[in-house]
């Protein structure tokens, strides 16, 4: 089975870039355009990994991560935060919410894949 990745980002550009990068190395990509949509897609996608943006309408990344962590079947799914915010305060909030790691935008495709492998046991 190829790895299933759920990407949550309100920017179509970012979603497209992620899809190109991830499907290019054989991963199956699911997409959602904000946190609420991400939660809806979550059960269907049952991803091995989640990559999420922080700034999104309706439900932001912090809220989304918190909700994912509340679900027992996704308690140990790695969640990478993809964000332009390198602010330590934001990183700390993401960590408290349950993020596994973060990637600072703009991402280098190789770095992204590398980071993904870092969190997948």
């Amino acid at each position: 089975m190829s790895l299933k990745v759920l990407t949550v980002d309100d920017s179509r550009t970012m979603r497209d870039m992620l899809r190109m990068t991830l499907s290019g190395v054989g991963m199956t990509v699911f997409q959602a355009e904000d946190g609420l949509h991400g939660l809806e897609v979550l059960e269907t996608a049952s991803p091995d990994l989640i990559i999420t943006d922080i700034n999104m309408p309706r439900l932001d990344g912090f809220g989304f991560i918190g909700e994912v962590r509340k679900k027992s079947n996704f308690g140990s799914t790695p969640i990478l935060v993809l964000t332009t915010e390198a602010d330590p305060e934001k990183k700390a909030r993401a960590r408290v919410a349950g993020a596994t790691g973060w990637i600072v935008k703009p991402f280098e495709p190789e770095r992204l894949i590398h980071s993904i492998h870092r969190v997948l046991a």
């Binding site: 790895l3 920017s11 199956t28 308690g75 960590r95 770095r111 969190v119």
Partner: protein, 719 residues
């Protein structure tokens, strides 16, 4: 598969959407109507542009968006309170952001002058809060923070000792020491040992509790920072120590001698850490080779529950649209045009075959006619776009001109949802920009003059669009001083545009503004150029098959009204016959039609005649002769004169034999299907199947005729 070029296109499309949302939000904020949601969505718009720009390394855009975002973030976190001056700076920043996007999209070079001023404003605002922009470079660092260079065999390896004690949260956030060490193992020769620090009953074992501390020894060419980077996700969820060890040989016995963070060394567990041969990512690719090709799935709304469907914001509505190539739509419109023609031909032949009005055939024909018209109208609406995009561009013009002229202006828009043909919208942008500039620059008074006249200091410019009797009507109105008719009259006389002793009505004076070369601007203003010629505006509107009119009330302002066709695919015209051929004259160019009598016609020389209409002499153009369908000049007395107005406001009387009909015709390009013919704008097919040429009124007016002499006579005789 998405190619980078496609994603780049998507990015610029998305930028346009974000800029539109940004403008909406910023204007709400400026008007004091913005809620926290507005500030958030404004922030997101800039943030999103920055994110995408980073991916394409559009450095100036990223830098500028970053400074913009910093100010918005300060407003969002209520560290600064937005006031009028900040709002204005933000709106200017938005304009600059739009410029940068445009420059990058079109592949143009970015001169610092584009953004410097606005950037300085933004930096000044954020500095009020002690935010130092220059120190924030980390956010816009394109270089990967870790570069792996392998294979330098002669490079000196260094030994390090790493002590690592995970906290419980490290496990809770789905991090795993094994993956961390595997990662570390890529950097060099690694050995890891684990020690139990806490014991518990097996049934009390918590998978997310921390029971084990680790000690690793690594021999590597990597730097300390590179090793730390391995732990950067978990750095706040663990205790980590990395120390130099100078000796190359590391003995396991040292473990026990140096307990450090390994508090209770009750047992030592060897930990096998797999160290893949390959580097970054490649192992994953190869391991999935046997898998079926990865499907690209976009989980859309069908996969989501119905209850959340309605809560989706307007952003999602955008995904209910599809993008279609304009060429395909035009092909469809063209085919529907053919359908309309065929339907008319069918009706004509059935009627000439003598079918009764009440017969089944006639009934069906009526039904077909109705359907055809419905299809035609529906197809036309595909090309239609709301006026909003056009209007949004104008608010920027108002801001710029207001700033340059020191006036305080509010732009009010109405009927933004009014749909207009895409081509019309595109071609309307320039003339409308001129008009808006003129309205602010020349229409509105300076604040002092306004308050002296007992008006509010802030001037208003209203831009409205509406559908009215099959036309799009756009009005540009200002509440300025109105047209100074005395000055206009004097200017026109001094420029020799009208006779010195001409007597003119108010509306005639107002219309002098449309004369070429007319400008009352006392000095050349850098805003409106030469007080930009309304003649240019008028010509552009006429080229679109539209008309422009002006109304002004002293002290109360000036209103320009544009009346435009809903589509450029069909036009209203009158069908005329000339030397046994059929032509169509566009209705928009026609002022009136006349049946000349001998009193009206004056001959100025051989083949050079003028017609006197209400005291003005207008050169006659014989359409038949101009288009070479006959050699002899038609007898004006047995012809019909169609008074038309072309570019440059010059009028001509077109002589035709007979007016046959007035109807809507489908425009068929002659250039595409045959070739350009002087004096002919396009062709159409009439109901009886005959091809008729649509005359190019501008070209006929401009045709070098012997009547040039007559034109010079026009005003001389007018007195």
């Amino acid at each position: 598969m998405d190619s980078m070029a496609e994603i780049r296109n998507t990015f610029f499309q998305e930028c346009a959407e974000q800029l539109s949302a940004l403008e909406e939000g910023l204007i709400e904020m400026e008007e004091g109507a913005g809620s926290m949601d507005t500030v958030n969505s404004v922030f997101r718009a800039v943030h999103s542009i920055k994110g995408g720009a980073g991916a394409f390394k559009l450095v100036a855009l990223v830098d500028f968006a970053h400074s913009f975002e910093t100010v918005l973030d300060l407003i969002r976190s209520q560290k600064i309170v937005s006031d009028q001056s900040i709002s204005k700076s933000l709106l200017r920043a938005m304009d600059v952001l739009a410029d940068l996007v445009g420059l990058y999209r079109d592949g143009n070079a970015i001169a610092p002058s584009v953004y410097e001023q606005s950037l300085a404003e933004l930096t000044e605002i954020s500095s009020r809060c002690g935010q130092d922009e220059s120190d924030d470079d980390e956010l816009i660092d394109f270089a990967p923070s870790q570069i792996m260079i392998g294979g330098f065999a002669d490079e000196e390896k260094t030994d390090y000792e790493i002590k690592f004690l995970p906290h419980a949260r490290l496990y809770r956030n789905a991090n795993d020491p094994v993956t961390l060490f595997r990662e570390l193992g890529r950097l060099g020769e690694l050995s890891v040992s684990a020690q139990l620090i806490k014991a518990c009953e097996i049934n009390e074992f918590d998978t997310e509790e921390s029971y084990v501390a680790f000690r690793a020894l690594i021999s590597t060419t990597s730097t300390l920072d590179e090793m730390r980077a391995v732990f950067d996700f978990v750095i706040d969820d663990c205790e980590l120590e990395i120390n130099h060890k100078h000796s190359r040989s590391v003995e396991n016995t040292e473990l026990a001698q140096d307990p450090g963070i390994l508090t209770s060394a009750s047992s030592t567990i060897g930990l096998a850490v797999a160290m893949p041969e390959s580097t970054t990512g490649n192992d994953q690719t190869s391991s999935t080779e046997q898998d079926p090709p990865a499907a690209e799935l976009e989980v859309g709304r069908k996969g989501t529950s119905a209850s959340t469907e309605e809560s989706r914001d307007s952003k999602s509505n955008a995904s209910q649209t599809i993008r279609v190539d304009l060429d395909r739509i035009d092909r469809l419109i063209n085919l529907v045009g053919e359908l309309v023609i065929n339907q008319a031909m069918l009706a004509s032949s059935i009627s000439s075959a003598g079918a009764f009005a009440a017969s089944k055939v006639s009934e069906s024909l009526l039904e077909l006619e109705r359907l055809t018209r419905d299809i035609q109208e529906s197809v036309m609406t595909i090309r239609a776009q709301p006026a909003k995009s056009l209007f949004q561009r104008m608010s920027r013009i108002v801001r710029e001109v207001a700033m340059a002229t020191g006036k305080s202006v509010r732009l009010k828009t109405e009927g933004e949802a009014t749909e207009i043909d895409k081509t019309v919208i595109d071609l309307l942008a320039d003339p409308l920009t001129h008009m808006i500039r003129n309205a602010v620059d020349h229409g509105l008074e300076l604040p002092d003059a306004r308050s002296a006249a007992g008006k509010p200091i802030e001037g208003n410019v209203k831009l409205a669009a509406a559908h009215r009797s099959g036309k799009v009507v756009i009005t540009v109105a200002d509440d300025g001083a109105g047209i100074n008719r005395l000055r206009v009259l004097e200017a026109a006389k001094s420029k020799g545009l009208i006779p010195v002793d001409a007597q003119m009505s108010d509306s005639e004076i107002d219309n002098l503004l449309f004369l070429p070369g007319f400008s009352t601007a006392k000095s050349v203003s850098n805003v409106s150029g030469r007080g930009v010629g309304m003649d240019v505006v008028k010509r552009s509107i006429q080229a679109l098959g539209g008309r422009i009119s002006i109304a002004s009330a002293p002290g109360a302002g000036t209103t320009f009204t544009l009346s435009l066709p809903l589509t450029l695919a069909v036009l209203d015209g009158i069908v005329v016959s000339v030397a046994e051929q059929t032509f169509v004259v566009p209705l928009t160019a026609i002022i009136e039609t006349l049946k000349p009598d001998s009193m009206m016609i004056s001959e100025l020389g051989p083949g050079s005649t003028v017609i006197k209409v209400r005291g003005r002499f207008i050169p006659i153009v014989d359409v038949g002769q101009a288009l070479n369908t006959r050699s002899e000049l038609a007898d004006p007395l047995s012809s019909v004169a169609i008074l038309v107005e072309g570019a440059n406001n010059s009028q001509r009387a077109l002589l035709v034999d007979q007016i046959l009909d007035q109807r809507q015709v489908v425009i068929k390009s002659l250039e595409v299907n045959y070739g350009a013919v002087q004096g002919i704008a396009a062709a159409t097919i009439l109901g009886d199947g005959r091809v008729a040429m649509i005359v190019d009124v501008d070209a006929l007016v401009d045709l070098p005729t012997k009547n040039v002499a007559a034109e010079k006579y026009e005003y001389a005789l007018a007195s």
